[in-house]
């Protein structure tokens, strides 16, 4: 039953068509934006769902269609699309979240003047992401990778009249550019070393799997590290994580779509697609694992001290992406992808909930909120489900995926296991803190006028909450059906009692302490701050990483820029002015010849004649 798979190339075209139509329509057709955008992503989602159903059986063959695109001499670049189980999964996730965001934005962005533009950008993003997922070779993946970055830039800076939004959009683009440079270098290296200069994933798989020795280990490590650099940029790993918290300047539906569920997952997806390269290089795997683990703990600690609701969720996303990278680095493709799958749902849910709250109280500072639980019931319940899923409480989905990662860590690298546990503890703690400060307790300064959001906003949240509960059951420690499906083969389930107990204990401990401090208020909120104010300040300023970058990188670059500007103004400008002045001087000098006096003309004639004769006579003497 392959026919839906064969039509997979149609899936990105619906959002693309939606983008084109919306761009052509302009700003006036506000209702049209909503319907066309949602329709495009709905059709794409239905088609993706059909493809997933198509492939649910065991041992489905990967489908690949490609054609010759560029022929240079004896090198042919083929381009096309490929549908594997992994690809089908990503298609479904991306289109589903995109559809839900389209519906949600109808309510959230209702009063915005440029709502049609917004929907156009969202459709363009969806198209790019789907193209990225369906790519069958690294070059076309890179093209869509860049396109996704552009859409992210456009959407973060959607409210471009705000200077903060502009700065955040630029920062996002520039920081991910550093990663993209790494990915480009990796592609170039692969082009150089691969037999026949092939860049498609099937060939990469066959060359690196089993390693016939075609490519030396040093080069393999280099390629893998460069690909990881690209993934780290897009997925916000340390030290390229700085753009993600600032990206919260964009509208909340965007934060949910791009910076929680899909674009940031592109890095993980890339590593999953080129996993054979990584498996060949132990050094690269270790790097990925350690960077991922470090980022997970690092970001979780920062989130403990943030006061902006979206920033907490942003650092939480960075932390969870760290978990995914750690899983991949430890050798488990299943772990990374499974966590990506569950994280997409509950993180999108949390962001939509945050958007609902912001829409109601018009502030993002959690210290000004409070007591919203009674006024916004649906939001509160779905947010609670999302928080519990993120904290890893069984039987919600987050528990199963996080547990899988911790199990693998326990089996291979106890140090990373400890880091993972600590990060889980912090995660539970900051989510509980946020929940209590926002929804419980006495109403804060801004909560008086709050009311529940309209159905267009709450329905997607409810749907995501259902998924957050249910999506975890596809992969349990006793039944690894998800893993087998992703791997096109059978995979034994991992289970480890230590890991299960440890993760549950860490999560419950975090929730308990959070309840003590923020719920029951038996421990003072400022207790920690009074004892170690420097620590709290450090966390609040996210370890001063931004300031460090500003001092080390931004300032010298600005200095270089201004000195180059001086050179441009004075040296190059001077040369240009000199040329102009020379021309006008020459003109003025020549004009002195035109003084109307016959003797001057006669003199010029004589001199000219002499020169002419000398030239002709002088030719005799030239060798």
């Amino acid at each position: 039953m392959d026919r839906y798979t064969q039509a997979a190339w149609l899936i990105p075209l619906f959002p693309l068509a939606a983008f084109l139509v919306l761009t052509a329509l302009g700003r006036n057709y506000r209702r049209a934006g909503v319907f066309i955008g949602s329709f495009g992503s709905l059709v794409a989602f239905l088609l993706s769902l059909l493809i997933v159903i198509d492939r649910l059986g065991a041992n489905e063959v990967d489908y690949n269609y490609s054609f010759d695109w560029i022929v240079i001499g004896d090198y042919t670049l083929r381009i096309g699309f490929e549908v594997t189980n992994l690809t089908a999964l990503m298609l479904a996730v991306v289109t589903l979240v995109s559809f839900l965001i389209n519906v949600y934005s109808a309510g959230y962005m209702k009063n915005d003047e440029r709502i049609t533009v917004f929907y156009g950008y969202v459709a363009l993003f969806t198209f790019s992401m789907l193209g990225l997922v369906l790519s069958d070779n690294l070059l076309s993946l890179y093209i869509f990778w860049e396109l996704v970055g552009v859409c992210s830039f456009l959407l973060i800076g959607f409210w471009f009249t705000l200077p903060k939004a502009r700065a955040a959009a630029k920062k996002a683009f520039i920081v991910t550019r550093i990663g993209d440079a790494g990915l480009l270098l990796a592609i170039l290296l692969l082009f150089w070393y691969m037999p026949d200069h092939a860049l498609d994933f099937t060939t990469i798989q066959s060359v690196f799997d089993g390693q016939s020795g075609a490519i030396t280990n040093g080069i393999t490590t280099l390629i893998a590290l460069l690909i990881f650099l690209g993934a780290a940029g897009k997925s916000g790993q340390f030290p390229l994580h700085v753009w993600l918290p600032d990206a919260m300047e964009g509208p909340t539906p965007i934060s949910a779509l791009i910076h929680a569920a899909t674009m940031v997952a592109a890095g993980v997806f890339l590593i999953a697609r080129t996993f054979d390269i990584f498996q060949d290089s132990a050094a690269a795997m270790e790097t990925v694992a350690y960077v991922g683990g470090f980022t997970a703990l690092f970001a979780a600690t920062i989130a403990l001290a943030q006061n902006d609701i979206k920033r907490i969720l942003a650092y939480s996303t960075v932390s969870q992406l760290g978990y995914m990278m750690m899983a991949l680095g430890l050798g488990s493709l299943t772990g990374g992808i499974f966590h990506l799958f569950t994280h997409a749902f509950f993180k999108a849910l949390l962001f939509l909930g945050a958007g609902s709250i912001i829409h109601a109280v018009h502030t993002q500072n959690i210290n000004e909120m409070g007591g919203l639980g009674s006024k916004m019931r649906v939001t509160a319940w779905t947010f609670a489900i999302g928080s519990l899923a993120l904290s890893g409480i069984p039987p919600l989905s987050g528990f199963w995926s996080k547990d899988l990662i911790l199990t693998i860590a326990w089996e291979t690298n106890p140090l990373l296991f400890i880091a993972g546990l600590a990060a889980a503890f912090c995660t539970a703690l900051y989510m509980t803190r946020m929940f209590f400060l926002v929804f419980m307790g006495k109403p804060g300064a801004a909560s008086s006028s709050a009311h529940e959001s309209p159905a267009s906003m709450t329905l997607p949240m409810v749907l995501l909450a259902v998924l957050a509960v249910a999506s975890g059951f596809v992969e349990t420690p006793w039944n690894s059906s998800f893993g087998s499906w992703i791997h096109d083969g059978s995979e034994e389930a991992h289970s480890s009692g230590v890991a299960i107990v440890g993760s549950i204990a860490a999560s419950f401990l975090g929730i308990y302490i959070g309840w003590l401090v923020y719920g029951k208020r038996s421990v003072s909120r400022t207790a920690f701050q009074e004892r170690t104010p420097w620590l709290v300040k450090l966390l609040e300023r996210s370890y001063y990483v931004d300031e460090l970058y500003a001092a080390i990188i931004v300032k010298p670059l600005k200095l270089l820029g201004s000195s180059l500007m001086v050179i441009d103004a004075y040296v190059i400008g001077g040369i240009v002015r000199l040329t102009g002045a020379a021309a006008s001087c020459a003109g003025r000098a020549a004009a002195r010849l035109q003084n109307g006096q016959v003797q001057a003309y006669g003199l010029a004639a004589v001199i000219g004649f002499v020169i002419l004769v000398a030239a002709i006579v002088g030719r005799r003497f030239l060798p």
Binding site: Q594, G596, Q597, V598, Q599, G602
Partner: protein
């Protein structure tokens, strides 16, 4: 002998050229012009005697040039007189109507 006559003519010609280009008074310019024409005459007559095929043609030619030069000198002075009546000066620097 021929080269000496020719060199002589060249000297006279160049001196006449310098005078025609530098002198301020228009009459003096005309005078220098006559000097140049004389140099040419010397050339012609020298070639008539020492040339490849000596004949009287050179001398006859020089008679013609003398005639034309005299006519031209007369016309030149007449023009100068007319210009002087108009402008009041014979300083060639003043005659720059062709400027721009």
């Amino acid at each position: 002998m021929l080269p000496s006559y020719l060199t002589m003519a060249a000297i006279l010609f160049c001196i006449g050229l310098y005078g025609a280009l530098v002198k301020r008074n228009a009459v003096v310019v005309l005078l220098s012009l006559e000097l140049m024409l004389n140099a040419v005459n010397l050339n012609l007559v020298a070639f008539s005697k020492y040339g490849v095929v000596p004949s009287l043609t050179g001398q006859i030619f020089s008679l013609f040039t003398i005639t034309v030069a005299a006519a031209e000198a007369a016309i030149g002075v007449a023009i100068l007189i007319a210009l002087f009546r108009l402008r009041g000066t014979v300083n060639v620097d003043e005659f720059d109507k062709m400027r721009r």
